[in-house]
Homo-oligomer: 337 residues x 2
DNA sequence: CTTGGCACTCAAGAACGCGGAGTGCCAGAT
DNA sequence: ATCTGGCACTCCGCGTTCTTGAGTGCCAAG
C-alpha cells in the first residue's frame, strides 16, 4: 500500500521539515533529494500519504508537514539510529569519568545530555529497588534525636532524622546498629521489609521502643523514596524550539514529579529506546513534544531511566544516538564504582 | 526637588503599571487615584519625573513607564513591605512543618516561594561554613573503596568515595574513624583544616597512607562543596511575564550555578532584604528582571540565601513580604531540628 | 501654581492588493 | 499503468495605506 518511493518521500519530508522548520513542497523535494521523479509524481505520492494520515498541510496550498503518525513510521521503519562522532564519544567519556559521587554523576549526565541533544534532558536517580544495603548508620544528634543513614551499593545515601524515645543509652544504639547491619548487610532493598519483621524478637525488651521507632522510619524511608528523584536540565532549549502549545504549559508539566515519572515511561525492555511522539504522551501539555528515553544501570540491569524531551519536530536519529550512548556510558561508570 | 505630590504620582505610576502592564497616562492616573489635581497638573509632574530619569515613555505619545531608577525610588522610599495574609502564613507553616529532612525542607521551600510569589524561586542550601561536624563515618564498600560520610549539625550529609591503598585492615579503618570523630566532633567546618593538620602524628606509621588519603579527600570535599548547591522552581512563571529580553537568555542564565550564586548576592546585612533591580543585576541577561533576596538560617545567623526572580515590573511590596516571611519560617524550622 | 483647551504625534489595527509557493487535475508521453 | 508537463486555482504572508484614539506638550487664562 505504500511502495518504496512513497516511503522515501515521507522520509525526505521528515528530514527536510526537521531541518528547515517549514512545510515542504513537492518542488523543493524533487530538487534536494534526487528521487529521480518529477514534482508532479511526488505530488501524487503526497496525496496518498496525506490520505493515509502520515502528513498534513497546515493550510490549503501550503507544503506538507509530517503528522505524529508520520513521525512514528519514520522512527519505526525509515531511519536508523545515528552513532555519535568519535569526538562526541570522547567528550562524553571524559566528562563523565571525572564525576566523584552519585550526585555528581547524575548532574553531569543530565547536563551532558542537554548539551548534546540541545533539548531538555531528564534523568532519574538510580532506583532503590535494585539496590542492596551496604551499611546502616545510626548517629545521635542532640539529646533526643537520631540520624538514620542508609548507604546502598549503588552509591546512594539516604538520611532521615528520628525522634528518640526518652532515656535511650549509647549502648542501645550501638547494639541496634550492630544488629541492623548484621541482618541487613547485602540485603536487597526489596527484601528489607521481610527481614526487618524478624528483628524485634532479637532485641532485649527494654530496647524495643527504640527499635520499633527506628524500624518503622527505616521502612517508611525506603517506601517513600520509591517515588524517585528526577533532575532536568536544558530548559532553555525549549525556548529555541517554538512549541505551538504555550511554552508555559510545557514548563509547568516539567515541574511536576508525577508527570516526569510517567514521561520516562515504564521499563519495558530496558536496553531499548522508547520514543513517544506527540499525542502518545501521557500528559496533554506535552502533545506537541516528543520524548526519547531509555533505561540505564550498571551492566544490563536497568535501575533507572533517562531521556530527553523536545518538539515533535526533532532529529530523531541523532537524538536516539545520543541518548543511547549516554545511557551506556553512565552504565559503565556505575558498574565501575 | 521632588515634592510629595510628585512622589505620589510616581507611586501611582508604579502601582498601575505593575497591575496593568500598560504604559499609564495622565488621565487614567487622575481617575484611578484621587490625587485631587487635574490631568494637566499631573502631566507637568510627569515631565519633571521623566527629566529626572524616574519614568520614561516607550514612544512619543504613549503613557509613562517606570525606569529602573523609578522602581528603586519606589522600593526605597515609597512602599512598605506587605505582610502576608494569615491564610498565607498558615499555609507556609503547615507546608514547611511536614518536611522531614534537609533536602525536603529546601525542596518545599523553593516550591512554596515560587507558588506564593508566582515567580521563579531560588534557594541556596545551608552553607557548610557555619556548620559544625556532627559525625564522621567511614564505610568500606567493595575491597578497595571507602565511603566517607560527613554529617553536620545543620542536617547536611556529604559523601564521597575514596580509593584505598592496598592492604588496609578493618581495624585501621575503625581506628581512623574513632580518631577523626574524637578530634573533629563539634568542630566548626572552618576550623577543620587546622585540626586535621595535627592528626597524622597520632596515627601509627603503618596506617599513615590510609590516613593521608582520607584526610586529603576530607579537606577537598569541604572546600569543593563550598561552591554551594542551589535549587530553583517556578521557571514556568517566567513564561507568563513576557520579558523583553528573550526568555531563552534568562533561562540560560538560570542554569548557570555561578550566575545564580552572584544573583543572590553577598550577605551584607543578613536579616534585611536585598532588592536588585534591572541593570543592577550582575548578569546582562537579567537586565530586565529584578531579584528580591534575603539571608536565612537558624536564629539570626544567616547560613544561606533565598529569593525570587521576576520581571522588573513586579509587585515589590508583596514579593518582599513573601520572601521575608518564608525566610523566617525556614529559619524556625532549621532552629527546631 | 493649577487648569482647560488645542494642535500634534505616533502605535496599533483594519482594509486592501498582490506576489508566489504550492496544490489538484487532466491530457499526453513512455 | 505510470509518469510528466501544463494550467488554473487557492490562499498565506507581506507590504502599503488609512483611520482611530490615547496621550503628550504648550499656552493662556484663572
Amino acid at each position: 500500500m505504500l511502495d518504496d518511493r512513497k516511503l522515501s518521500v515521507l522520509r525526505a519530508i521528515v528530514e527536510d521539515y526537521v531541518s528547515t522548520n517549514e512545510p515542504v513542497g513537492s518542488k523543493a523535494l524533487a530538487e534536494r533529494h534526487n528521487l529521480g521523479v518529477s514534482p508532479a509524481t511526488i505530488r501524487n505520492d503526497m496525496a496518498v500519504l496525506e490520505e493515509q494520515g502520515y502528513i498534513a498541510q497546515p493550510h490549503t496550498s501550503a507544503g506538507r508537514v509530517p503528522t505524529d503518525k508520520g513521525y512514528r513510521l519514520f522512527v519505526d521503519r525509515l531511519s536508523t539510529i545515528k552513532p555519535l562522532s568519535s569526538a562526541e564519544r570522547r567528550a562524553i567519556e571524559t566528562f563523565l569519568a571525572n564525576a566523584y559521587d552519585l550526585d555528581d554523576v547524575v548532574t553531569r549526565t543530565v547536563r551532558l545530555l542537554a548539551q548534546l541533544t540541545r533539548q531538555v534532558a531528564v534523568v532519574q536517580y538510580p532506583s532503590l529497588t535494585r539496590s542492596a544495603v551496604r551499611h546502616i548508620e545510626l548517629v545521635p544528634i542532640g539529646a533526643d534525636r537520631l540520624l538514620l543513614v542508609i548507604i546502598t551499593n549503588t552509591g546512594r545515601v539516604e538520611q532521615r532524622a528520628i525522634e528518640m524515645p526518652d532515656g535511650v543509652s549509647e549502648d542501645s544504639i550501638a547494639h541496634l546498629r550492630a544488629l541492623l547491619n548484621a541482618h541487613l548487610d547485602g540485603c536487597w532493598l526489596t527484601d528489607v521489609p521481610g527481614v526487618v519483621a524478624e528483628v524485634p524478637e532479637r532485641v532485649p525488651v527494654d530496647e524495643r521502643p527504640l527499635a520499633a521507632t527506628v524500624l518503622s522510619v527505616l521502612l517508611e524511608t525506603l517506601i517513600e523514596k520509591h517515588e524517585e528523584k528526577i533532575v532536568i536540565a536544558g530548559a532553555a532549549n525549549l525556548a529555541r524550539a517554538d512549541l505551538s502549545r504555550s511554552l508555559r504549559d510545557v514548563l509547568e508539566a516539567l515541574e511536576e514529579q508525577v508527570v516526569l515519572m510517567r514521561l520516562l515511561g515504564e521499563v519495558s525492555d530496558p536496553t531499548s529506546l522508547t520514543v513517544r511522539i506527540g499525542t502518545e504522551n501521557p500528559h496533554e501539555s506535552l502533545f506537541t513534544t516528543s520524548v526519547v528515553a531509555t533505561g540505564y544501570g550498571a551492566g544490563d540491569q536497568a535501575v533507572a531511566r533517562l531521556g530527553v524531551l523536545g518538539p515533535t519536530r526533532m532529529d530523531y536519529p541523532g537524538t536516539m544516538g545520543a541518548v543511547r550512548a549516554v545511557a551506556r556510558y553512565v552504565g559503565q561508570i556505575l558498574a565501575g564504582s
